[in-house]
C-alpha cells in the first residue's frame, strides 16, 4: 500500500533562501510521525507545502497516491488533510461550536437557495453538522462541552484554544491530521494531557498524525517514528531513541561541541 502522505525530492526557496532542499518524507496510514528540528529548519514550511499554501518549486507531494500539485488549500483539505497552526488561528468572534461547524463546509452540500428557503434537506444537514461538532468537541472531555459550545472562542483559555484548534481541524473529516506544535506554551499537566490526547486521536479517532513538536517528552510519548530536519534537509529518521542520540541531531540542537562531547 502506498503511504498516505508522500513527499519526494521537494524543494522550496523564498527569494534566495533555500528553505526546503530535496526532502523525502512519508507517513503511512495509522502512523504517528513526529517532525523535529531547531527553529528555522523548515518544519512549518513542510506543513504549508502539504496543505497547498505554498507551491513547491520542485519535487512531488502525493496524498493517498494522488498528486496535490496545483490544488488550492481548500481542495486539499477536502481530500482529507487538516492542520492546526503554530500561532493559533481560531475564528475568535465565532462560538466554539461554530468554529468546528465551519470546518464542515467541505463535506456538506446545502446550496444558497436551499439555505435561504430552509428546505428540509438543508435543515437535516444542519442538524448533522451540529451533532458532528458536538461529537468532535466531546473528544476533549468536559472542557469544551455544554454551555461552552455557545461561548465565543476569544473567551477560552490558552490551552482550551489549542484544543479547539484541533477539534476544528477534526471538523473537516480528515484522514491525516497535521498538528503544528500542539503542546506549545502548556504546563506539564496540560502537556501530559495533550500526549494522551494525540494517542487517543489515533486509536479512538482513527486519524493518521504528523506532529511538529519541540517538547521531547511529547515526542517520546507519541511517536512511531521521528524525522529530524535541519536547514531544510532531513538529517535523521527512525525511532525516538535512534534519532535522539544521532550525532547530527545533537549538533543541530546543541552545537558541535555537544555532539563531540556526547
Amino acid at each position: 500500500m502506498p503511504p498516505l502522505l508522500q513527499l519526494q525530492g521537494v524543494r522550496k526557496s523564498f527569494g534566495g533562501l533555500r528553505v526546503i532542499d530535496g526532502l523525502n518524507l512519508h507517513v503511512d496510514e495509522g502512523e504517528i510521525v513526529s517532525l523535529i528540528g531547531p527553529n528555522g529548519a523548515g518544519k512549518t514550511t513542510v506543513f504549508n507545502l502539504v496543505t497547498g499554501i505554498y507551491a513547491a518549486d520542485d519535487g512531488e507531494i502525493a496524498f493517498a497516491g494522488r498528486s496535490t500539485a496545483g490544488l488550492p488549500p481548500h481542495k486539499i483539505t477536502r481530500l482529507g488533510i487538516a492542520r492546526t497552526f503554530q500561532t493559533l488561528r481560531l475564528f475568535l468572534n465565532m462560538t466554539v461550536k461554530e468554529n468546528v461547524m465551519a470546518a464542515a463546509y467541505g463535506h456538506t452540500k446545502a446550496t444558497v437557495v436551499e439555505s435561504m428557503l430552509r428546505l428540509p434537506r438543508a435543515r437535516r444537514e444542519e442538524r448533522e453538522i451540529a451533532r458532528m461538532a458536538e461529537e468532535k468537541l466531546g473528544f476533549f472531555g468536559q472542557r469544551l462541552v455544554g454551555y461552552r459550545w455557545d461561548q465565543p472562542a476569544y473567551s477560552l483559555s490558552y490551552a482550551n484554544r489549542r484544543r479547539l484548534e484541533i477539534a476544528r481541524a477534526m471538523g473537516s473529516n480528515p484522514r491525516l491530521l497535521l498538528l503544528d506544535e500542539p503542546a506549545a506554551g502548556m504546563n506539564p499537566a496540560e502537556t501530559h494531557e495533550m500526549t494522551e490526547l494525540i494517542g487517543r486521536l489515533r486509536t479512538d479517532g482513527g486519524y493518521t498524525i504528523l506532529v511538529i513538536e519541540h517538547d521531547m517528552h511529547v515526542v517520546e510519548g507519541i511517536s512511531d517514528r521521528v524525522v529530524a530536519l535541519d536547514h531544510g534537509v532531513k538529517i535523521a529518521e527512525g525511532s525516538f531513541e535512534q534519532v535522539a542520540t544521532n550525532e547530527l541531531v545533537v549538533e543541530a540542537y546543541l552545537g558541535l561541541k555537544a555532539a563531540e562531547a556526547g
Binding site: I53, A103, Y105, G106, A110, A122
Partner: protein, 493 residues
C-alpha cells in the same frame, strides 16, 4: 471518522472539581467587561433584543410598519415610510458584503445606481421601451449580480484596503460615466447626463400597477420582510458560517475547506443583486433618476446605517435605517425649522441626562446654561443693542423663548463664523477635560452651541445637517467603534 461515539454529559460548570478562578477562567474574568458593554441605553436595547427572538422581531416590525399608511399622509408615507424601507434594503445589501464577508466595498452604491438606471432604460420614455416589472426586475437583478461578480473577480487578488480603493473608484467611475460621459447610444445620450432619466414607469406586475404610495409601501414592506427572512436563514447556514469564517481569517478558513474566493464572489454578487433590486424600486417610486442620487453622501449614509446597528446584525440594520432616515427627514429643509430646533435642543438635553450622573450636577448644568444665557443676553443688549437685534428664524413658541436668551446680532456678518469656530474649539477642548472641569466647561459650550444654531445652522439647514452628520460619525466611532448595537470584536491585527 468517528471520534469517541457518545457525547459526555454536559457539566453544570466547567471543570467541576474546582470552582472557576478569576484570572484562570477567562470567561469569568471578563464578567466586568460584559457588564460594561451592557450598561446604559445600548445595554437595555441589547437585553431587550436578546429576549425577543428574530421571528418575533420581524413580526413586530411588520405589524407596526403595516399600520403606517393608516395614519400617515401620502407625503409623509413617502418620506418616512418608503424611504426608510429603501434604506433598509440598501443596508441589507451592504451588510452581506461588509458584515457577513468582511469585504470593504466602497463602491456598493454603484450597483444601486446601475439597477436604477437599467430599470429606467427599460421602463421609460428614454428609448420608448416599456417592459412590465415581471420582466425587468429579474433581468435587472440578474444583470446587477453579474456586474457584482465581474467586480469581484479581479478583486480576489486584492487585500482589504486595496479592495476598498478599487471599489471606491469603481463607484466613482460609475457616477462619472452616468453624469459626464453619457455616451450617445441610438441617437440619445444613454444616461441623460446630469439631468438623468425621467418619466419612469411605476412597477407593474401582471397588469397590476403600483401607482399609489400605499401600494408601493406595502410592496416594499413585503420585499423587506422576505429578504430579511432569507438573509437570516442564510446567515445561520453553512454559507453564513463560511462567510463569517472568511471574515475572521481568510487563510485559516481556506485551510478548513472553505473556498474563500468563491465565497467572496458570492458575497459581491448577492449584495449587488439586493442593491440592484432596490434600484428598480427606487427608480419606479421616484419616477426619475439622476447621478446625484448615487454619490458619496449616500454611500456614507448606508455605511453609517450598517455600522450604527453593529456590523453584521440584521436587526441593527433595520434600527439604523429607521433612526437615520427619520432624523434626516425630520431635519429636512422643507420642514418647519421649529422641528429641527426642537430636535436639537432635545438631543442636547437627552445627552446631558444620560451622561451626567449625580442629579445635582445635572441641575447645575441646566441652571447654569439658562442663567448664563439670560445674563449675557441682557448685558449685551444693554451695552450694544445692535448685537441682539436679530430675529430668530421662523417663529413658534420655542423660538420666542429662545429669542430672549441667545445673542443674535444684526449686520455683524463675521459673528456667526467666529461663533462656529469657537464652538468647534470648545467641543474639542471639552473632550480633553475630565470630571468637574468638564461639567463647568459644558455650560458656556452649550450656550455657544445654541448661539451657533440660531445664527448659522438655522439659516443653512442642509449644510448644518451634513456638519452634524460628520461630527456624529466621528464621535460615534471614537466612543463606540462597534456601533450602538454591536458587540466589541476581537480583531487579529
Amino acid at each position: 471518522m468517528d471520534a469517541g461515539g457518545t457525547i459526555p454529559e454536559p457539566p453544570a460548570a466547567p471543570d467541576e472539581r474546582e470552582r472557576p478562578r478569576v484570572g484562570v477562567d477567562e470567561w469569568v474574568a471578563r464578567v466586568e467587561e460584559r457588564r460594561e458593554t451592557h450598561r446604559g441605553l445600548a445595554g437595555v436595547a441589547h437585553r431587550v433584543l436578546r429576549f425577543v427572538p428574530p421571528p418575533a422581531r420581524l413580526a413586530l416590525f411588520v405589524a407596526v410598519a403595516a399600520t403606517l399608511p393608516l395614519w400617515m399622509g401620502r407625503g409623509d408615507l413617502f418620506a418616512y415610510g418608503i424611504f426608510t424601507l429603501l434604506y433598509v434594503l440598501l443596508g441589507l445589501g451592504l451588510n452581506v458584503v461588509v458584515g457577513y464577508a468582511g469585504l470593504l466595498d466602497l463602491g456598493h452604491i454603484a450597483f444601486f445606481g446601475f439597477g436604477a438606471y437599467l430599470y429606467a432604460l427599460l421602463s421609460s420614455e428614454q428609448y420608448g421601451i416599456h417592459w412590465p416589472a415581471t420582466a425587468t426586475v429579474p433581468l435587472v437583478v440578474a444583470a446587477t449580480a453579474l456586474l457584482g461578480l465581474l467586480l469581484g473577480i479581479p478583486s480576489r487578488r486584492l487585500l482589504g484596503d486595496y479592495l476598498a480603493i478599487v471599489t471606491l473608484f469603481f463607484g466613482q467611475a460609475f457616477v462619472f460615466f452616468v453624469n459626464a460621459a453619457n455616451p450617445t447610444v441610438a441617437g440619445k445620450g444613454l444616461t441623460g447626463g446630469p439631468n438623468g432619466i425621467a418619466d419612469i414607469d411605476p412597477l407593474s406586475f401582471f397588469g397590476y400597477e403600483l401607482a399609489s404610495r400605499r401600494q408601493q409601501f406595502y410592496f416594499l414592506l413585503l420585499a423587506v420582510a422576505l429578504i430579511l427572512t432569507g438573509l437570516h436563514f442564510l446567515s445561520e447556514s453553512r454559507t453564513g458560517r463560511a462567510w463569517r469564517a472568511l471574515r475572521e481569517d481568510p487563510l485559516a478558513a481556506e485551510a478548513m475547506s472553505i473556498p474563500v474566493n468563491r465565497l467572496k464572489l458570492l458575497a459581491f454578487a448577492f449584495g449587488a443583486a439586493i442593491a440592484g433590486f432596490t434600484g428598480c424600486i427606487f427608480a419606479s417610486v421616484l419616477t426619475a433618476v439622476t447621478a446625484g442620487n448615487f454619490g458619496i453622501p449616500l454611500l456614507i449614509t448606508i455605511y453609517a446605517i450598517v455600522i450604527l446597528g453593529g456590523v453584521g446584525s440584521l436587526t441593527g440594520v433595520v434600527i439604523g435605517a429607521v433612526v437615520i432616515n427619520m432624523s434626516f427627514q425630520f431635519l429636512a429643509p422643507e420642514n418647519p425649522q421649529d422641528n429641527a430646533r426642537l430636535l436639537f435642543y432635545s438631543l442636547i438635553i437627552l445627552l446631558l441626562v444620560l451622561t451626567i450622573r449625580p442629579l445635582w450636577k445635572l441641575a447645575a448644568v441646566f441652571g447654569g446654561v439658562v442663567v448664563l444665557g439670560a445674563v449675557v443676553e441682557r448685558l449685551v443688549e444693554a451695552l450694544a443693542p445692535s448685537w441682539t437685534g436679530g430675529v430668530v428664524v421662523e417663529g413658534g413658541r420655542l423660538a420666542g423663548a429662545v429669542g430672549h436668551w441667545v445673542i443674535i446680532p444684526t449686520g455683524h456678518g463675521r459673528f456667526a463664523n467666529v461663533a462656529y469656530v469657537s464652538l468647534v474649539a470648545a467641543v474639542l477642548l471639552l473632550t480633553r477635560l475630565h470630571g468637574n472641569a468638564r461639567i463647568v466647561a459644558l455650560v458656556p459650550t452649550i450656550y455657544l452651541a445654541a448661539v451657533v444654531w440660531e445664527t448659522s445652522f438655522v439659516e443653512q439647514p442642509a449644510v448644518a445637517r451634513w456638519i452634524l452628520f460628520g461630527a456624529l460619525l466621528v464621535s460615534l466611532m471614537t466612543v463606540r467603534p462597534q456601533g450602538l448595537l454591536g458587540t466589541p470584536r476581537v480583531e487579529i491585527v
